[in-house]
Amino acid sequence: MSGPSDYQPSHPALKWFEQRLPIIGLVHSSFIAYPTPRNLNYWWTFGAILSIMLGVQIVTGVILAMHYTPHADLAFKSVELIVRDVNYGWLLRNMHACGASMFFLAVYIHMFRGLYYGSYKAPREVLWILGVIIYLLMMATGFMGYVLPWGQMSFWGATVITNLFSAVPYFGESIVTLLWGGYSVGNPTLNRFFSLHYLLPFLIAGVVVLHVWALHVVGQNNPAGVEPKTEKDMVPFTPYATIKDFFGVTCFLIFYSWFIFYMPNYLGDADNYIPANPAVTPAHIVPEWYYLPFYAILRSVPNKLAGVIAMFSAIIVLVFLPWLDAAKTRSNKYRPLGKQFFWIFVVVCVLLGYLGAQPPEGIYVIAGRILTVLYFAYFLIVLPLLARIETPRPLPNSIADDVLAKSGRAPMVSTVIALVAAVSLLAGSMGDARASEGQENPPSASWSFAGPFGKFDRGAVQRGLKVYKEVCSNCHSLQYVAFRNLAEPGGPGYSTAQAASFAAEYKIKDGPNDAGEMFERPGRPADYFPSPFPNEQAARASNGGAAPPDLSLIAKARSYKRGFPWFLVDFFTQFQEQGPNYVNALLQGYEETPPHGVTIPDGSYYNKYFPGHAIKMPSPLSDGQVTFDDGSPATVKQYAHDVATFLMWTAEPHMEARKRLGYQVFIFLIIFAGLMYFTKKRVWAAAH
């Protein structure tokens, strides 16, 4: 995109086209002949990774929109049906949901890379500002996307974030009403968020084009931070940068697949598997991990308006970075002080993220204030001051010299380790936000479905189904599970005929018929497990005011604090079994008499594992209540384990398919990454 293209098409037809629309020449000069510095390291690959992620998000998003219903009554259900019924719906949804996290992870690395190597300095100020605009658009898009599944966190996140605007003096309330399109967050809000969530990525793509255009005008920065002088400093984009980027992208895809196939819920919040309920707020409202540092800044300021201003300033300050940092030396590699302060700043950001996930009380508030001050101090005090007092180390004469010096290899390793640790700390810390005071963590049971090769124990799922039918179904519905699911692969392993006859034992309300009347008929495979109550009010009335929750998602909607260092370990062990552990423990956690000194309200029962310990549901299970045909012991312990297994299957019927496909994808990606690595070495062998 810099200067007129030297692309000369040979074919007459191409020549004819090129004279009328020189787009092939544009692509050629931008992505093939374009000279790139020879010394770029892998931090530069995140630009390519970001383009890929934008593409992935747009493609999967367009597809999800084909199956999604943006209506307050149907949104949650439509997302569940995407995951359960649409062909590969679970895969596409995981790709999109985890993709958002990957996108932000990559953008943060990309930004910190720019910060470290001074990529915002002249002549790249506009390039940098365009980047900040992209980041702002990403934040808006990510936020609105998170609202769409219309779970508890979606709903309350939307409420809290839109309420930020109520801090505006005089017009605050009107602005918030305008954003909502109603008296509270509701269907109009969901509709406009959906529309904008679909629109903004295309705006992002537009600004990305400008960003890349600006990049091609001024040329890429590089780790040495010196401008290229001779041809020896550069290599053509293709094949050198192309192959290197492809290798980097493949490695990133391996990391991404780890989440898609093995930890799809690691970065999400369990509360979002509970349908939105305007009458109940979750114990802690936490944004997605990528907003946590800004959330921490917001909460550190004890004044509503000032907090909001501080939060937005934390982003806007980036726009002024090129002028705040007046140092002549671009890359921190040659700035002894700049380097140290840079890493302190990284730590400050990570700690702010950690604090964003903690409850805003006690020491956390104090720490949050100190870190907020440090965050702004880096931009407003440290950087302007350093330019005056720091003596940088001598710069290499040229990029070619820098390549020959082979410096910066060892720091690279430590940076990788530091970043991985920082990111997992940040990502994992959000789990802490689900702390519920005074609650004992359920013990981890051993589950056949845990781990990368885990499968459901068919016998346990079948027994669990029996327990559900004979006990749980007296109060709890299972509205996202259809009888046909019983005959699907990866489930209890029944035949189609068995599922049909199981269905026929149920009475299903249907109608109206030709006479305009409702009637009852035996269940069919396509029917869903019915609720024992005609409506929610009836369910409430017969259960002392608390409606028994639907159990289809209970195993994914329940979680507990894992704490440090478990969330780090969980990443590697793929631990995702909080839900079943909780269900299993809860069913066995009843105690006839509360421990000494504990009083519980009338009409409730003591349970060790229930948050607050007083549960309205009496112990549903007792020994000998259900008889099993396969001779398994008729004990509460066995019932609890089996029903938890069954509920895990109802929460994720395609779990086995997910793990199996993941295994295949991993083998493919690892082989491919290996091939790419050697190809890359071959290609670059000619350049060194």
């Binding site: 000279p35 020879r38 493609v59 597809i63 084909m66 199956h67 049906l81 359960r84 019924d85 649409v86 062909n87 590969y88 719906g89 895969l91 596409l92 041809e231 020896k232 550069m234 290599v235 053509p236 094949p239 259809a482 046909r484 699907e488 069919r524 495979p525 396509a526 493919f668 082989i671 491919f672 091939l675 790419m676 050697f678 190809t679 071959r682 290609v683 062998a685 000619a686 350049a687």
Partner: protein, 176 residues
Amino acid sequence: MVTASTADHPTRRDFLFVATGATAAVGGVVALWPFISQMNPDASTIAAGAPIEVDLAPVAEGQDIKVFWRGKPIYISHRTKKQVDEVRAVPVSSLPDPASDQSRTKDGHEQWLVVIGICTHLGCIPIAHEGNYDGFFCPCHGSQYDASGRVRQGPAPLNLPVPPYQFVSDTKIQIG
């Protein structure tokens, strides 16, 4: 500027490049599958396409009803003796899409015609008991079908299709 120079072992290098390229191509093609497959009917749609039962008892002679199966209108006509005789008298070879009425109805139940009511021209819904053949008339482009649902006139190339169905009792059929 450095250009890719030719290596000393062109065959080995080529093999690596070809292997990498081929792996990328295979991976790319396979990865497309979920994106295409998601457009196919989902599991709940397929389950909703299960067979349906229709009670014929209330349908008087000369009357017809329309039911829906898999989102398509199905015409069930209780034909009169006159209609049956007429369609059976037509020489099969003279029809644009030759088929005997016997092949389109069930033995012993010849008074019942069950057809998918979608015009074989471009998919409009023909109107029953209309047109020159006492059968169906499609208002869109003027195709005419007889009381056996066979095309007799107009741009439609084929007869109205007969859905899979069977009699479960004398007055009840199962479609699908």
